[in-house]
Symmetry: D2
Subunit: 334 residues, 4 copies
């Protein structure tokens, strides 16, 4: 059930804010480290869902003009990591479709292990697929469910899939967040001051940027439904062993996020301390590979009593296109 | 069964040419007058279908770099007219999907009259829709068909829809062109010199640009299947009254195209002559609104014996963005 | 004294309009046929001259945002034709410089025959050149003049050059138009309704677009100075034989412009009639190369009594980039 | 003689490398922290100087296509910091002009204190200025010099100015680097392996990126001339008190550069240690403002025995455009 580090994504959803798309833009901005391939936002004004998605970085895609075309008090957004060399717009999220009950938008962080199998079955019974994302499988299962309420359709659909998912759904009037029973991918709940709205997103650092309050993590197997009547929580799935992805603490998450009740920064520092205990080294200096290696190096330095120094400098202007000279210089990528 | 002038599109497909996407690019270029909103090309190398579509003009979308990412000896392309103010990428064509039998790409010129009705039925039985195009209805019907061969699935699907369609389908190894039984929208068959490939497209002017030979019009209700074994033709539908859209002769088509066996230019000139007979005018001069009005004005001038003059000048650099002064000038759009 | 057809440009200047840059934008838009390589606008608010110039078409360069950065009640603009393969931004106009008397902006249509000679002399006495334009020579001569008033400095400078020029100068408070004594290049004077401002520009079609009234042509050797006190006219140069460039009537100018008191369209038609008289042909039909050949073909048709037909169709979507197929098609440029 | 921190720039020049523009691109890339407003490269193939400059970042401006248009074995480049809100292309460097002796390109880091005074004098004697850069003053003085050789003209010119300058000049066959007598701005000399060329640039980190060897700093008041005959060094100015700008060590320079014989990183760390001695603090933790504050914080932590922690996280995807929500969030810029 390996959900490789190439499959990282970030999700952000908000309900009850007059500038929902703007807030989602900011939230995705804070989650940009979770995916640089594509970004998208879908919003609802209570009647109609509109959306915009593109290849590229959040700040390049969402101009004021584009955000003005995504009105409403609810929105969900997604940033996606490049999974293969041939990354494609058709795989950008949120996925927005019409089905029997109306429109629905979905943003997904995770991977299903039985997606291919279900896709094959769905195709045999007449379904068409317009992307290669596991997420489209979930949407089909929701559309095929015989249940009435969208919440029940979602539960119905998710009971058929196995794997990792932190999912945000948006209908014209509901924001729904679900975390898989193993709690593989992160998902947190936040609140804006006053009655400024409810947020569900991948990491607490996105709450900080918009000055929302961190409430708690969404529990493994929990479904949270936010609409005009308030926030309700369900535990519709069979309990499962908790299997939080260790790569979040090691690499994916931003150091200022809180996961599993502790700061990612502190966890990384402790990993460095533990490394010093397990693998002591005779050395003059501890040097991190910036920026993700800094906390662990600080921990190692502290535990081992070896001085910490910044021995590698990061160029902050690394662009996406880079012309390498045809000769003379090797290993330029590094 | 009105297929309004806002719903004009152009299609171009080619089989058996090593640079199929390049040729399709040229074909769409010649058909650009049929749609300026979006353009797309899907190609097949016999194994995999790849595609690219974007909002904008053919020459702006398809750079050499983009065309190089759409390899293969078969391709279909589409240009789309802006149907509403909020034109969207999700409605660009070709539509490319995976279904039980593999991948299929579709390019459609026309409108169905019972699309909404079928869409509703499909949704009730669990289908999802990712666009607002009639074309997606056709694709669903193909996927739902119980027939084995894709040709039979297409016939099955089209037997359920009513309306106007000139359609191109591409599977990994077949190019299929179909024209509705009423022959509402144009579709012509062409041949490149030697064994340079078979072309099916909206207007003969696209054949001229790539130096292909005009063979004939696709008949109303005819289906043409082109693959490695050659070209086969079928008449799988019940015959119907011919109802070719008069707006093609009046406005849509390029004057150098041939439709219904006669040149559009000659038809427009004859319309002008007829107008002179039906509505004679005491006038000093006949002035066309360029460029589409020129042939009719020439005809009127000839029949009425009134001199023809170019009294209105067209600015060839009309851009898509145009800043109007805030005061002083009225009626600037004209 | 050949001022080749590769050296065509368009100039537009306005004084006394609150949206001077916007009006200049529209004026250049109407003059776009005179130069597609680069475009620029310089404006003055009475104190400071600001400007913007870029490679490309007027409508692509001047967005609302860019125009908002060029405030003031006076402005001059320029469109430039590609003179060589290596067209460069450094040669875009208006040229804006600081010199002893303040700032000055210059827009030039024409070519000097002794520019190289003067440039050499100026360099020997310590001048530097930042472009390869003749216009920069004129600016140096103005800066070197010992006269006090800018009008006198301009006359001083122009007395040293020989060749074709229709020039617009703008200081912080004056708009000055000058036409060379031979009257080689066109320059017309217009008035906006009420007290909406004075315009000096290359062709009357630019006046039409902004609904300004055509007053008259600027005379050969005339200098017109417009400022807060009104419009004054001078004839500071020795009279010379009139040598209006025949290519304006044949090719450069827009058919709806008036030059030398007659419509370009009528002149071209008369050229066609004359051709019919001088070179009668036994033919079935007269076919123009659109669009510039249309009036002459109409004239030929009329004089020869041979029917006029549109036998060549112009593709209105010809883009600046065009991917030619690597094989199969020759002579694609045409 | 304050050369404010808003006036930082970076220069890079190379002689004797077949891909001189590519190497300069890489050098500017490493110097990007010294200026993000505009960037430019001028090259010489021994006969002709070509150049390209634009607003923006090095990696965005110089595509392979652009670099291919700047051929030759010599090049100089420049990155410029935004000095005012209205930053403009006309102030981008290198400045490239024609004068009596041919073409010359100049890249300048620094500020002159008597530029306005000299500019006024030059204007009175007929000079024109096309930018607001001090550099243009230097170029005028070179053009006005009565000396024969360009080296002597440069010395002549620089003897008339006072202030800070690290300058690179390029004629069609010479690369010349000069540092002002006070040595206010940095300039270093490097060598590529074998006979791969000579480099003169602002900081040693640019040498590291292209794998050139650091030779030494250019001395205050030194002029280095590189051409086909080799490298020659001159001390043409009166000696002056050394006044190296302290902001280089504090803020401007990259920590991995060497200036004044010591690593910037070590200097910053020592500044932190000294701060701990001069301003001891009762604190639990030392937290840097990343990234420039990290070395000083490490030094303070070390000297004070207070633990160092990363308490502020930098978002690596900070874009140039950022849409702030209209309400709810204050102080967003930070």
């Amino acid at each position: 059930m390996f959900d490789g580090w190439h499959e990282e994504c970030g999700v952000f959803g908000i309900h009850g804010h007059p500038e929902a798309a703007n807030m989602t833009y900011l939230g995705l901005y804070a989650l940009q480290h979770r995916g640089q391939e594509s970004a998208g936002i879908a919003s609802s004004d209570g009647e109609v869902i509109t959306f915009h998605k593109e290849m590229g970085l959040v700040a390049d895609i969402f101009s004021e003009e584009v955000l003005a075309r995504i009105p409403g008090h609810m929105a969900i957004g997604h940033v996606r990591y490049s999974t293969t060399g041939s990354s494609e717009l058709k795989n950008a999220q949120p996925v927005v479709v019409d089905f029997e009950s109306g429109s629905i938008a979905v943003a997904h962080n995770g991977n299903l292990v039985n997606a291919h199998e279900i896709k094959r079955e769905l195709e045999v019974s007449g379904s068409i697929f317009q992307s290669t994302m596991d997420t489209e499988v979930i949407v089909h299962l929701i559309a095929r469910s015989r249940k009435e309420r969208v919440e029940d359709r979602i539960v119905d659909a998710l009971n058929q899939v196995r794997g990792a998912y932190s999912l945000l759904f948006m209908t014209r009037d509901k924001l729904i967040g679900v975390r898989d029973p193993h709690g593989i991918r992160p998902l947190v709940l936040g609140k804006l001051k006053g009655d400024g709205g409810t947020v569900i997103c991948s990491e607490s650092c996105a709450l900080d940027l918009i000055e929302a309050q961190y409430v708690r993590e969404v529990d493994p197997g929990e479904m949270i439904v936010v609409d005009a009547r308030g926030t309700q929580t369900y535990k519709p799935f069979l309990p499962a062993v908790e299997r939080f992805c260790i790569f979040e603490h090691v690499y994916f998450a931003r150091p200022d996020s809180i996961m599993g009740g502790t700061s990612i920064y502190q966890v990384r520092k402790e990993l460095g301390r533990q490394l010093a205990r397990e693998c002591p080294a005779k050395a003059d200096v501890v040097i991190p590979v910036p920026d993700s290696g800094v906390p662990a190096a600080l921990g190692y330095s502290e535990a081992a009593g070896i001085p910490f120094e910044m021995g590698l400098i990061r160029n902050h202007y690394v662009g996406r296109t880079f012309i390498e000279p045809q000769q003379s210089i090797r290993h330029f990528g590094v």
